[in-house]
């Protein structure tokens, strides 16, 4: 029984079902991120937690209390919206204390809470301004202040950084993380940006087409994605996915693939339960950082394989160099150290860390366990 329990929750609009059987349990103080592409249902789920949308079946409980059908104002939640939704005709101070005012908090208490929050978010010099006079980052902070001042059980964030430019987004991301560490509140955060998901969360729910594809810690999601969707959605540049055949060599299963020139190559797989499945077609997933130059390979790995093939393009990005080659008919991206001796068109010795490799069944799209 967690602090926030989502049990068997579904959502339908008439005959169209947009959310299927969501089961998520969040502990107090956790930072849950709902991530997925547009239309996956993450915002719908958030609105259902907030009480802005009804629940078709299942229930949601906050701190032990089932909140189905309860008005948003009574659920003890606060929300930060994508557009901040600051009341344009009120000052910053009035915006922040509006919720307290609606709940009947007397004036002196409201002012005290406002002073406290304003100081914490460093917006005390903005209290008399109207939202239209603030910059994007300032508005963000006011929106967070409005949520914080209510001291709710759960904070909800609906893509709060989408409207900011890239640099500001990174800065605000760090601020949100610091705030979470400092205050230790329970947060549910919706975003389509997988970097935000990875960096901010304690646990992630990856969603697609109304289903929760995987629910776990960032590390679990990243290292052991349950299916092809999660594997390709999380991580940038995305995981390389190669169609290969299982071949038994020297008694162990290998992945058989062909390079850009038709030369057949083999990589030893760590997945023991693929033994004896000679000829099976599977999909091999390797992240770019698992394919490096020999000197840059992970020394702690027990399964570094070498692959010699021709380099396609190189993209020096300053800190690393991204190298593209062709395997199994697909473009494969490798990430190596900036000073690796790579030249386009020339053959190169790639070091592949097969410890990090994952294998998927092409039909079910699910990961084949090791």
């Amino acid at each position: 029984m967690g602090f926030l329990d989502i049990n068997h929750v579904t959502k339908s609009y008439g005959s169209v079902q947009v959310l299927h059987e969501v089961d998520i349990s969040v502990n107090e103080g956790e930072f849950l991120v709902l991530v997925g592409p547009s239309g996956c249902g993450k915002s719908t789920l958030l609105n259902m937690i907030a009480g802005l949308e009804g629940i078709t079946s299942g229930d949601i409980a906050i701190n032990g209390r089932v909140v189905n059908g309860m008005h948003p104002a009574r659920r003890n939640i606060a929300m930060v919206f994508q557009s901040y939704a600051l009341y344009p005709n009120m000052t910053v101070g009035q915006n922040i204390t509006f919720g307290l005012e609606m709940h009947g908090t007397p004036r002196p208490e409201r002012d005290a809470a406002l002073a406290r929050i304003a100081k914490m978010l460093q917006i005390d010099h903005l209290l008399d301004r109207k939202p239209s006079q603030l910059s994007g980052g300032q508005r963000q902070r006011v929106a967070m202040g409005r949520a914080l001042v209510r001291d709710p059980a759960v904070f909800l964030f609906d893509e709060p950084l989408s409207n900011l430019d890239a640099k500001l987004r990174v800065d605000m991301r760090t601020e949100i993380k610091k705030l979470h560490q400092r205050l230790g509140r329970t947060i549910v955060y919706v975003t389509h940006d997988q970097i935000e998901a990875m960096t901010l969360s304690t646990r992630i729910a990856v969603m697609n087409k109304g289903y929760v594809q995987q629910f776990g810690t960032p590390k679990e999601i990243y290292d052991t994605p349950t299916n092809l969707f999660v594997a390709s959605f999380m991580g940038s540049p995305s995981m390389n996915l190669l169609p290969v055949r299982v071949a038994m060599l020297n008694g162990s299963p290998h992945a058989e693939l062909t390079d850009g020139e038709g030369v057949k190559m083999h990589l030893r797989l760590g997945q023991a339960n693929l033994a004896g499945q000679e000829g099976r077609e599977v999909i091999l997933g390797i992240r770019p950082e698992a394919i490096t130059d020999p000197e840059g390979a992970d020394r702690k790995s027990g399964n570094i394989q070498h692959l010699r093939t021709r380099v396609g393009v190189t993209e020096p990005a300053g800190a690393d160099t991204f190298v593209t080659t062709t395997l199994s008919g697909k473009d494969v991206v490798a990430r190596m150290r900036a000073d690796a001796a790579v030249a386009p068109g020339a053959p190169f010795d790639f070091a592949v860390n097969m410890d990090k490799a994952v294998v998927f069944d092409p039909r079910t799209e699910e990961r084949i366990p090791a």
Binding site: A50, G51, L52, H71, P72, A73, I77, A78, M79, F81, Q82, S83, A85, Y87, P88, N89, F98, G99, M102, H103, R146, R150
Partner: protein, 298 residues
């Protein structure tokens, strides 16, 4: 390469052409609007009776004007009519807009019903209401036939109450328009704002009072400007509904001007009254237009 004189001509033509194209309209406006306004102002300072004359009489016409009880009646009527008209139209328009915005089934049918009176001529409206309000034939008669013997609704024949019938008919005609303006304004409000207020615990009443209605301020302003200018110009409706009567009970500046200029052959005084009407409208419109045009991206 074209000779330098040819290129010059072409560019010069392109410079000229837009202004050339604009000029007929501009000339028309300058003459028929501003020129005529100037002429009417001039006339108001002359002793014109049936035909325009050129003998200047200074402020005489204006002095006469303010002394005429008909003019004073017209002004009082205008004040009553305009204030009631504006307030009631705004209230009804706002109410209907807010109600219609509540995800009403059949909105597509209701909205055109509220708006169709705008498509009618004021003469048609006046004719319809004149009859509806006639004691012998309209509502009063119907109520009596249905058994309510003592029901009276003879406002239109009553000297003191007739002006209110003009209000009713005018509100009937234009409140739909005000509703459409407020509805557009309501639909432009970001839904996230409303959700945030709900989470903040605002009841529907507070939500509308503290957040939605303040956000409708531009719509209120537009409505006020348009309604006040319509009120001042009201002529067709009064003519059709009451003809200015009974007696002078529903005289408005517009009807006053017409009758004094064309029927009573007091052109100078009539012109003076028209000038007063213009000044009043200008006092409202000019600041409004100025503010609107200043905002526009240049």
């Amino acid at each position: 390469m074209a000779t330098s004189t040819e290129a010059d001509f072409r560019t010069r033509l392109q410079d000229w052409l837009p202004k050339l194209v604009l000029s007929p309209s501009l000339a028309a406006i300058l003459v028929f609007v501003y020129g005529f306004i100037a002429y009417s102002i001039y006339l108001s300072f002359t002793g014109s009776k049936m035909l325009p004359s050129t003998d200047l009489v200074g402020w005489d016409n204006y002095r006469t004007l303010w002394g005429l009880s008909a003019w004073q009646t017209a002004l009082i009527n205008l004040a009553i009519f305009a204030s009631l008209y504006i307030v009631i139209c705004t209230a009804i328009g706002l109410l209907l807009a807010i109600f219609l915005d509540q995800r009403i089934r059949g909105e597509g049918v209701l909205r055109p019903i509220y708006l169709y009176p705008m498509a009618l001529s004021f003469i048609v409206t006046g004719t319809a209401w004149k009859w509806f309000l006639d004691p012998g034939l309209g509502l009063e008669n119907t109520m009596r036939l249905w058994g309510w013997e003592s029901f009276t609704f003879g406002w239109i024949k009553d000297r003191d109450l007739a002006i209110y019938t003009v209000v009713i008919a005018a509100v009937w005609q234009t409140s739909g328009f005000v509703m459409a303006m407020f509805l557009a304004g309501l639909r432009g409000i970001d839904n996230e704002l409303l959700k945030a207020a709900q989470i903040d615990g605002a009841s529907n009443w507070n939500l509308y009072r503290r957040i939605v209605i303040p956000l409708l301020r531009p719509a209120f302003l537009s409505a006020f400007v348009i309604l006040s200018h319509l009120a001042i110009k009201s002529y067709d409706l009064v003519i059709a509904l009451t003809g200015g009567g009974p007696g002078r009970a529903t005289e408005l500046p517009a009807t006053f001007m017409y009758s004094y200029t064309f029927t009573r052959n007091q052109m100078g005084v009539g012109a003076a009254s028209a000038v007063i009407m213009l000044m009043t409208i200008a006092a409202i419109m000019v600041p409004y237009l100025y503010a609107e045009l200043k905002e526009r991206p240049q």
